[in-house]
Amino acid sequence: MNCAECKELLVGFLEGLVDEAEKKRISEHVKSCANCSAELEKLEKLHKSLISNGEALAESDLEAEVFNRILREQKEKLKTAGQAGKTINFWRIIMKSPIIKLAAAAVIIAAVIVGVTPFLGGTVTFADVIEPILNARTVVLDLVVGSEETGLVVHDIVVGSKIRRTIPNMGLAIIDLDNARALRLDPSEKSAVYVDIQGPIQQYMNSYLGMVRDIVADMENHPEWPVQELGQRWMNGQSAVGFLLSVPNIKLTIWADAETAAPIRIEMLMGQSQTIIKNIEFDVPVDESLVSMDIPDGYTLHEGELDYTDFDEQDFIIILQFWAEHVLGGNFPDSVSAKDILKMRPALRQKIDQLNISDEEKMQIGAAMGRGFIFFRQLEFSDTDWHYVGKGVELGDANTAVFLYRPEGSEYYRVMFGDLHIEEVAPENLPQ
């Protein structure tokens, strides 16, 4: 080995990147060459300095600080956006719209769009069971949000990336996931409005559809995620086999036809929210006009689009405030769930209509409530720790907590009190 060759390999030698044979040759050369030996000594010194400085400097941990700041600034930005851009944008829409009924409908529009989860049920490992869920172009199904007896029933017709979603007595919406738009139709009023579902809400919806693929792909990396066989059971006149899949934050039970392996019932418990999918039919012929984004004949289109692109806790507070103040005579409700909010809707609609405020203001209340509903659904579906503790609390009570949750990534809880102020509280100081 000559000096040039040796010098080229010295850093690799220090880094342990040369093979045994080369290592031996370098060592031998260095022993017999004063020049290269000095060179190695210098490099070694620098190498050691770099390593020890790296170790000395590496003790700081910025993560928590960085995240607290990001959360704080994000909130500020949302607030400013809400006060400046969003509101102005929204007012422009309102001014064009002769709508008042829409105000009360806003919660329902939000519910129709995000109130339910598109068949997440495709997450079993058993290829034959999940195959139709993954590959069917059309699916017709019923979804029950909440328990089987009292839950809200939703009927979905899925064609590719479009969904026609009907909720009895509440109307329907056509949802175009690819283009992040929804068309809400109210058959009783013969009215239609387009809804912009870009931004966080779109990601939220897409993530549900994408979840099937994600979880299946993820299962390969997580052999520890158990799939439990539940055996056979007689279900609705047919023999069914069941599987229980537990992934973080989600428990998924799939019952499939014991003969054809076609899924017949999917039960999903996600966070604190339960969904049941049943009456499932795959690849049935569907009239494509059912998922058309065009306005049907005889319908009147409201100008402008409803804006649900951003939402936060302030929107949710408006729901609680309005509920307590105008529907329950100053008391917070006994419980709060998506079902409760939707069931309160007729009373809400009536109360909004009775308010002595301008149409614009009514509209704004309605839209905020729609966004608040989305905010709440997001909490329900996530593994965020949240609790509603407002039973028996009076509106205006500054000392009693009503609602609390811990934002993703935060060490602190956000606690809302009876007078609607919010405090950031460390877990150990939470009110009992």
Partner: protein, 181 residues
């Protein structure tokens, strides 16, 4: 690749702020070393690193090439450091330290961040490799995988970086020697 920078950048842009943690964990130390080399103070470097990471998060959509996240982050770091330096007029301190560096026999180990300053002054490619290798806790193989460069290229660039670092440190010592003579 589900743990690549590109993947996490995309996740952040898709509204999963929590995934920014992975990028913070991966690069905070290398960023800190870089900033210590620019600011000659660990305390200021920490402040600047925090600021840089927060800015990076909120400017993520402006990152054209997610694969170059680290270099882009250092670019933000550099601007933050410049602002801080201007604000606190640390140039004076820098001159003072450099003038007295000759008195410390081993400049690269002294607490004046002379070694980090030399690292920060390397051309970008070399700088990134040294920061990631020695401060970011990555092996040469990790760096090769992450950057898509062959391992041999990484080692060669590291050799070259060593040569430049030595030149820089020796030069500094010589000029300081002349100044103090």
């Amino acid at each position: 690749m589900s743990d690549s920078d590109k993947y996490y950048v995309q996740r952040c842009l898709d509204g999963h702020p929590d995934d920014f943690r992975f990028l913070v964990r991966r690069y905070q130390k290398a960023l800190l070393a870089y900033l210590a080399g620019k600011l000659y103070s660990l305390e200021m470097a920490e402040e600047a690193a925090q600021e840089s990471l927060v800015r990076a998060y909120f400017k993520m959509e402006k990152l054209n090439n997610p694969e170059a996240f680290f270099s882009w982050l250092l670019g933000i770091g550099e601007r933050v450091a410049r602002e801080m330096r201007r604000r606190k007029q640390i140039e004076q301190k820098r001159e003072f330290i450099e003038a007295h560096a000759a008195q410390t026999a081993r400049a690269e180990l002294s607490p004046d961040y002379g070694l980090e300053a030399a690292v920060s002054a390397l051309p970008d490619t070399y700088r990134d490799i040294v920061l990631l290798r020695y401060y970011g806790g990555q092996s040469c193989k990790d760096i090769a995988k992450q950057s898509g460069m062959p391992l041999g290229t990484v080692t060669k660039q590291l050799s070259r970086a060593y040569a430049m670092l030595r030149d820089n440190l020796e030069q500094k010592q010589n000029s300081n020697y002349e100044v103090s003579k």
